[in-house]
């Protein structure tokens, strides 16, 4: 049976430093915004983006937990430490895709002038997940680019 393979210890281990930075940033960003959303959900503060929702905040805290759980294994350079960062980005990606799908369908409703969307504005469908995932994905893309340039000897004297 053919199975997907990944030479992790070679290529990815070179990126452990970068993944560590990304995990810390991901944990802090999702954690801070998730906490703010939870506080907004119970009515203590104003919402960061869109409607205040306690569960939505808790969901972001779980993503933060996944990133945070990977920090120690990455610092210790354990074999499968990258798993937490990858799953964190994956979860962030799922939330991003869903929020994007909701945003696009809302736009469709507004464009078709359907009754429920007459008073809709872009701000109604904006969610913190829409900003956080591009941040993490950009960091991951930067790491890949740096790794590619290192492995091809582009940056070496």
């Amino acid at each position: 049976m053919r199975r997907p393979r990944m030479s992790l210890n070679g290529k990815v281990r070179e990126q452990y430093g970068g993944l560590l930075v990304m995990s810390v940033i991901g944990a802090a960003a999702y954690g801070a915004l998730g906490l703010a959303e939870c506080l907004a959900g119970v009515g203590l503060t104003a919402s960061v983006a869109g409607h205040p929702d306690l569960v939505r905040g808790a969901i972001m805290l779980v993503v933060a937990m996944v990133f945070a759980a990977g920090v120690r294994p990455l610092r210790r350079r354990e074999d499968d430490a990258a798993a937490f960062a990858v799953v964190g980005v994956l979860l962030g990606g799922i939330l991003f895709v869903i929020e994007l799908a909701v945003l696009l369908t809302d736009m469709l409703g507004w464009a078709l002038r359907l009754e429920d969307w007459l008073s809709w504005s872009l701000m109604d469908s904006l969610d913190a997940s829409l900003f956080l995932f591009p941040l993490c994905a950009s960091l991951l893309a930067l790491l890949s680019l740096r790794s590619t340039s290192v492995s091809t000897g582009g940056d070496q004297p």
């Binding site: 049976m1 199975r3 997907p4 393979r5 990944m6 030479s7 992790l8 210890n9 070679g10 409607h51 929702d53 569960v55 939505r56 969901i59 779980v62 993503v63 937990m65 996944v66 759980a69 074999d79 499968d80 990258a82 798993a83 937490f84 990858v86 799953v87 994956l90 979860l91 799922i94 939330l95 869903i98 799908a101 909701v102 369908t105 809302d106 469709l108 409703g109 078709l112 359907l114 009754e115 429920d116 969307w117």
Partner: protein, 452 residues
């Protein structure tokens, strides 16, 4: 040998492959035959691999890497909850605009039907067919989106992990393994979920699974949640629907625990499952699964939901006073008024009570009945009618009641077939009705206190 070729055993952190000692009262050393077979199978695989495969330190599988987190002792369940929440948010939020378009189409069709000169025929088409079946078809997009999400999870290999992770949590609180796979099927329909309980080993465990499987929220209940959540909690509708599905799982676990500690005292047995490697779902596969399941729903709408709509319309059109009586004097109103005092503490009006009674035939009929009873067409109108007879707290209680009371006649029939006993079938129906009533009452009392 890579990690995911090891047979994970729920509740034991992938260490043991044998059942706990003493699971058969008469023989302390009894080991389940399938476990022996699995052990033997992997022993042979291991021997072959030892000869032909030299693992290199630099090689690692993506599946192993993902499983490190997705099957994590503490992170596994939260990640599963995030996935479920994402699924229901997508199901509800992204499908709204398509539902609105279908609704617009049926509104237009209703306008055309008003040109029919014969009053009773016009009423049948407008309130019976368009108001009943047409209104049910408004829920095709969310149902399709849910099947799409399930197909992606299924084809990617995550659903098997979800079953493993939740089963492990169940094992930790002392419940038997193996029953989560049937329970997982309950998200689609309670009938196959009850039938899948055949895979559960001991009779007491099997009976527990049959009794709790209907508590898992089947797809037929989705239209009820979407209608009520959309009307009463529009800003958090996705979260409310997610909460209903979560409550179904929690109640199934709680009731299984209650049965285990009262009616069926027995040992737990581990879930033995082979986890497939993660795959990238194909567009063709996902759409094929989604379309097949949606087609089943459409067939259901075109067959007995149509018949149900005609019967309901007849009952709302006819009364002791003859044909074309006011709704309040129709047979459907008589039935609703007769049972309404029982449901008065829950804040359900006679219209809601009638819909719940007809919901015993199939859960989609609850929405169909409400639409016909209120004699309206389209979500906004039914929404306004619902806000007139329900408060947000009683709407939440209604969702909980719909979640927990007997799913449908087909489920009752299957329960009888699988248990072979009318006594257990009656017990199943009665305990679900009592549980639904008590939980709905709890929602009303606690919700009332919070609102106050």
């Amino acid at each position: 040998m890579n990690k995911d070729s090891v047979v994970p055993v729920a509740g034991t952190d992938q260490e043991a492959t044998t059942g706990p000692a003493g699971q058969h009262d008469d023989d302390e050393s009894y080991i389940l035959p399938q476990i022996v077979l699995a052990e033997e199978r992997y022993r042979v695989i291991g021997e072959i691999l030892e000869e032909v495969y030299r693992p290199g330190k630099e090689r690692w599988l993506v599946s192993d890497m993902l499983d490190r987190v997705l099957l994590h002792k503490y992170l596994g369940v939260p990640v599963f909850l995030v996935t479920m929440w994402a699924m229901f948010t997508f199901t509800f939020e992204a499908s709204r605009v398509f539902s609105a378009l279908i609704e617009l189409f049926f509104e237009w069709l209703g306008t055309q039907a008003s040109l029919v000169p014969v009053p009773w025929l016009q009423s049948l088409i407008q309130q019976g067919l368009i108001g009943g079946v047409g209104f049910i078809l408004v829920f095709v997009p969310p149902i399709m989106f849910m099947y799409l999400s399930i197909a992606v999870l299924e084809d990617s290999g995550y659903l098997a992990r979800a079953a493993f992770v939740v089963d492990r949590a169940m094992m930790r609180i002392g419940l038997h393994g193996r029953s989560f796979i049937p329970l997982l099927l309950g998200f689609g329909c309670s009938v196959p979920a009850i039938m899948a309980a055949r895979t559960v080993d001991a009779p007491s465990n099997r009976l527990t699974t049959i009794l709790v499987a209907p508590l898992m929220s089947c797809s037929a209940r989705l239209p009820v949640y979407i209608l009520l959540a959309g009307v009463f909690f529009p800003a958090f509708a996705g979260t409310v629907v997610f909460a209903m599905y979560l409550l179904g799982i929690v109640m199934a676990v709680v009731m299984a625990l209650v049965f285990k500690n009262t009616l069926f005292r027995g040992e737990s047995s581990p879930l033995l499952m082979e986890l497939p490697t993660y795959q990238r779902p194909t567009v063709h596969g996902v759409f094929r699964h989604t379309w097949d399941r949606t087609l089943l729903f459409l067939k259901k709408a075109g067959s007995y939901l149509l018949v149900g709509a005609l019967v309901l319309w007849c009952l709302s059109y006819v009364g002791p006073g003859g044909l074309d009586v006011p709704l309040s004097e129709s047979y459907i109103a008589l039935l609703g008024h007769f049972l309404a005092p029982v449901f008065a503490p829950l804040g359900f009006s006679w219209q809601i009570v009638s819909a719940l009674v007809f919901g015993l035939f199939a859960k989609e009929v609850v929405v169909e009945s409400l639409s016909i009873i209120f004699s309206v067409e389209g979500g906004a109108a039914i929404g306004a009618a619902l806000t007139g007879v329900l408060t947000p707290v009683s709407a939440l209680a209604l969702m909980v009641f719909v979640l927990l009371y007997t799913p449908c006649i087909a489920t009752i029939g299957t329960t009888h077939k699988e248990t072979g006993s009318w006594a257990w079938t009656a017990f199943s129906v009665v305990y679900q009705l009592v549980l639904a009533y008590l939980m709905a009452l709890a929602v009303v009392v606690i919700g009332g206190l919070l609102v106050a």
